[in-house]
């Protein structure tokens, strides 16, 4: 079997998460991904924790995860020789996905304008915090500050405390996904009509497009929603669960907690649910939940048709019978980091394979890729390596 992106060659540049995540997924689906790293390596190589607390640029969990299925080429883009090699590689690729700071590529003569001069149908997808223009273009940002500016911190957390960001870096990952979609659409135009283009992906706008209701609440009737009291999950004997009780399952929920003989509530569903949420059944719920494990409570809730969930940490997730049954996890052997468990791919495509190769060592494929993509001889490549360009 083959993957949907077989035959596509993607060059990745930059540091950190968005571009790396985008091309990582492309690699899972079959694309040939070449990761250009500076001689000292992608900065995520420095992010721990590391095994035995010993920093090792080949054993960063974040790097290993974000860079599966890629070949690593080290290039010093601050030198004209490095820039020239970058252009040579791109000339034979379908797309560049990068998240350098705005202006970085212009200063190095590897901007879209420069690259497309030699490659008409090139797609270049640039992911930046704020996009390629506008007053904030060059401003500094991190995951947290983008969550703040993007309006999501305003509604996450407890109103009696400081606003909260989400754990991990969902904003940067979502930007990677958005870049995937846009790059694929652009490559489709390149493949079918020979049109190349520059794709401008903004992390901030990805958050702006991830609101559930507070934007329309404001647009439709000028109501500004803020954080609420944080909904406290329900304790069980070994962790926490929660229910999403909607009107049509409210009486199912009553029977789950109060027993199968409990009569239907004769109030209208909305006010009954409101009463339940303000604590009316708390004692009964606790009596029920504290005797059960979180997994038992989750199953009983779901079997009673009440949307239920448990607060899963990483060990719970890896032990999940559902995720195991779907073979969501994959074991990947890496020459330095050893055999580790990784999440696979969240979708199964009939007649198509996913590919899971380990992340590359720093510069592991420099020689191989330069030989493949340029007409340089082994001696010339050796000279460039001696000069520190590669």
């Amino acid at each position: 079997m083959s993957g949907p992106l077989d035959g596509l060659t993607i060059v990745e540049g930059g540091h950190g998460i968005p571009a790396a995540y985008c091309t990582q997924i492309m690699g899972v689906l079959g694309a040939n991904v070449i990761k250009i790293e500076p001689p000292e390596g992608d900065e995520t190589r420095r992010l721990g924790p590391f095994p035995n607390d010993a920093p090792d640029r080949e054993s960063s969990a974040l790097f290993l995860y974000l860079n599966r299925n890629k070949r690593s080429v080290t290039l010093d883009l601050d030198t004209p020789s490095g820039q020239d090699l970058f252009r040579s590689i791109v000339k034979r690729a379908d797309a560049v996905v990068e998240n350098f700071a705005p202006g970085y590529c212009d200063q190095r003569n590897i901007s879209y304008a420069a690259l497309s001069d030699e490659h008409d149908s090139l797609v270049m997808s640039s992911i930046t915090p704020f996009g390629q223009n506008g007053p904030y273009r060059d401003w500094h940002a991190t995951e947290m500050t983008l969550f703040a500016i993007g309006g999501l911190m305003n509604i996450v957390g407890d109103i009696n405390r400081e606003p909260l960001k989400f754990g991990g870096s969902p904003a940067l990952h979502v930007a990677g996904i958005n870049s995937f979609t846009a790059t694929m659409l652009a490559m489709h135009l390149a493949e079918t009509a020979g049109i190349g283009q520059h794709v401008d992906v903004s992390v901030l706008e990805g958050l702006g497009a991830s609101h559930f209701q507070d934007l329309v609440d404001y647009e439709y009737h000028r109501t500004v929603i803020r954080r609420g009291d944080m909904r406290t999950p329900i304790p069980t004997s070994d962790g926490f669960i929660s229910f999403q009780v909607q009107a049509h399952v409210y009486n199912d929920f009553r029977r789950l907690i109060l027993g199968p003989d409990a009569a239907d509530d004769d109030r209208d569903a909305a006010s009954a649910i409101q009463a339940q949420q303000s604590g009316e059944m708390d004692l009964e719920i606790l009596t029920w939940s504290l005797e059960k494990t979180k997994l038992e409570a989750y199953r009983l809730g779901q079997e009673a048709h009440v949307p239920a969930a448990y607060l899963a940490d990483m060990s719970d997730i890896m032990a999940s019978p559902q995720l195991q049954a779907r073979e969501f996890f994959v074991e990947i052997e890496h020459p330095k980091a050893g055999t580790l468990t990784y999440p696979g791919f969240p979708a199964k495509l009939t007649g198509s394979d996913c590919r899971f190769e380990p992340a590359p060592l720093l510069g592991q494929h420099t020689h191989e890729v330069i030989s493949e993509f340029t007409d340089l001889s082994a001696a010339e490549i050796g000279e460039l390596q001696a000069a520190g360009v590669l």
């Binding site: 911190m153 934007l215 979708a347």
Partner: protein
């Protein structure tokens, strides 16, 4: 040359409801696909009539009394589509759907497990009718496995997928974010998966079925935490607003009630710039704070110092001031401020739409921009059943009288059929 849209010529039947799946449908529709939102009068998108009701000026009726066409949550995320209100539980409705599937490239659906099969339009049936069809099933937990029949909303999946565990106040294990991030993630994942699958179909000539688990898509966003757990054997701790490598990294109060600014200082030089901005240059040489380790060990003192200073400023002014000193900061922005944000305005992120039943409204646009073939909202969210005649007449060549007959039989329509309690005819499945 007229602007060619990337998905021109692709037809997609979008049975998506609620949030995640309709968002994916909008991504394809904006990009030029002909996306037909398939609902029925007995079972319209629940956000048309159920759950939180958001109407212009809080008025459900408007001029025409069609409140189901005035729901903000539907109108925000079903732009650029056509609407066909077809009763799939009626044998004629089912047959018409299959005829449409024969003329379509893809079907997208997020019903609970088994619903499509019970309606007689499962993958096996559709694949047989149209071997080149691509179908994406946007499931809570996938089509297989012991929990595949479980029903979930985004907040459930946030907990099951591990996002909630990693998100919360470090000093309060019970605190749990409840936002439903898996919805936008699931929608964005479905959007790219279908586009990739369409390419695969071009290469192989074979249709395919995408079995997508939103729970897994949520975990993938924090996948490094799984690898970290596998690497260290330790469950990664919850770190609140602390960003790895940044000290300090927190939200600080500003002038006014519940106004905040987020500041993230990634190195000693940036700390010095902050001290300058605070007009406290002497702090830059204070040994307690000059180094990363010092700021980590004296985190409470650092936070107090900064918080006392930020509280004297209006957040937007402070945001600009800090950025002018090259300090990483962002004001916690509410929807009013977000709509006014000068950067998003200049970028044209907000799209003004003349809604069919809601007047002029603004919605978020697309977070990606193609230089040569730009795309975005093409038409407003359709009214329920707005394109019944156009679709059945145009694609299936039914005559007006045949379509009238289907209307009389209740197979198609333009108004929801509600139960006496005002709920939907069928229980959410």
């Amino acid at each position: 040359m007229a602007n060619r849209l990337p998905l021109e010529g692709i037809r997609i039947l979008d049975m998506g409801q609620f949030w995640a799946a309709p968002n994916a449908g909008r991504a394809w529709a904006d990009a030029g696909a002909e996306v037909i939102k398939v609902e029925s009068c007995r079972r319209p998108d629940p956000l048309r009539i159920q759950a939180r009701k958001i109407y212009p000026d809080n008025d459900p009726g408007g001029e025409h009394g069609d409140h189901w066409n005035r729901s903000g949550m539907v109108n925000e995320r079903n732009r650029s589509k056509l609407s066909l209100a077809l009763d799939l539980s009626h044998p004629k409705g089912r047959d018409l759907f299959i005829e449409l599937a024969k003329q379509s490239d893809a079907v997208s659906q997020n019903y609970s497990l088994g619903v499509m099969d019970r309606l007689g339009i499962g993958w096996d049936v559709l694949h047989k009718a149209n071997p080149k069809l691509v179908m994406v099933s946007i499931m809570s937990q996938g089509l297989t496995g012991p929990e595949s029949s479980y029903v979930s909303y985004g907040q459930n999946l946030e907990q099951l997928g591990g996002i909630s565990y990693t998100s919360g106040y470090p000093d309060d294990e019970k605190s749990s974010v409840g936002f439903a991030l898996p919805d936008p993630i699931g929608g964005a994942t479905a959007a790219f998966a279908l586009i990739a699958a369409l390419r695969h179909r071009e290469e192989t000539g074979e249709g395919l079925h995408i079995d997508l688990s939103q729970r897994e898509a949520a975990t993938l966003i924090i996948g490094d935490a799984i690898v970290e757990y596998s690497l260290t054997g330790q469950v990664p701790p919850r770190i609140g607003n602390h960003e790895p490598g940044s000290n300090p990294s927190e939200c600080y109060p500003c002038e006014g009630e519940d106004e905040w600014i987020a500041i993230s200082i990634s190195n000693d030089a940036e700390w010095l710039r902050l001290c300058e901005a605070m007009e406290r240059v002497n702090l830059g040489s204070d040994n307690r704070f000059a180094t990363i380790v010092g700021r980590m060990r004296n985190r409470d003192a650092v936070d107090e110092l900064i918080g006392e200073w930020t509280a004297r400023f209006e957040k937007m002014e402070l945001f600009k001031l800090l950025q002018s000193h090259h300090i990483t900061a962002g004001a916690i922005t509410n929807p009013r401020e977000l709509f006014q944000d000068p950067h998003l305005r200049e970028r044209g992120f907000w799209e003004q739409v003349e809604d069919y039943s809601c007047g002029t409204q603004e919605y978020y646009g697309r977070p990606m921009h193609l230089s040569e073939n730009p795309y975005g909202t093409r038409t407003p969210t359709p009214k329920l059943g707005q394109h019944n005649y156009e679709i059945l007449g145009g694609l299936l060549s039914l005559s007006n009288s045949e379509i009238d007959q289907l209307t009389n039989e209740g197979v198609i329509g333009t108004e929801p059929i509600l139960t006496a309690e005002g709920g939907m005819a069928r229980r959410a499945s």
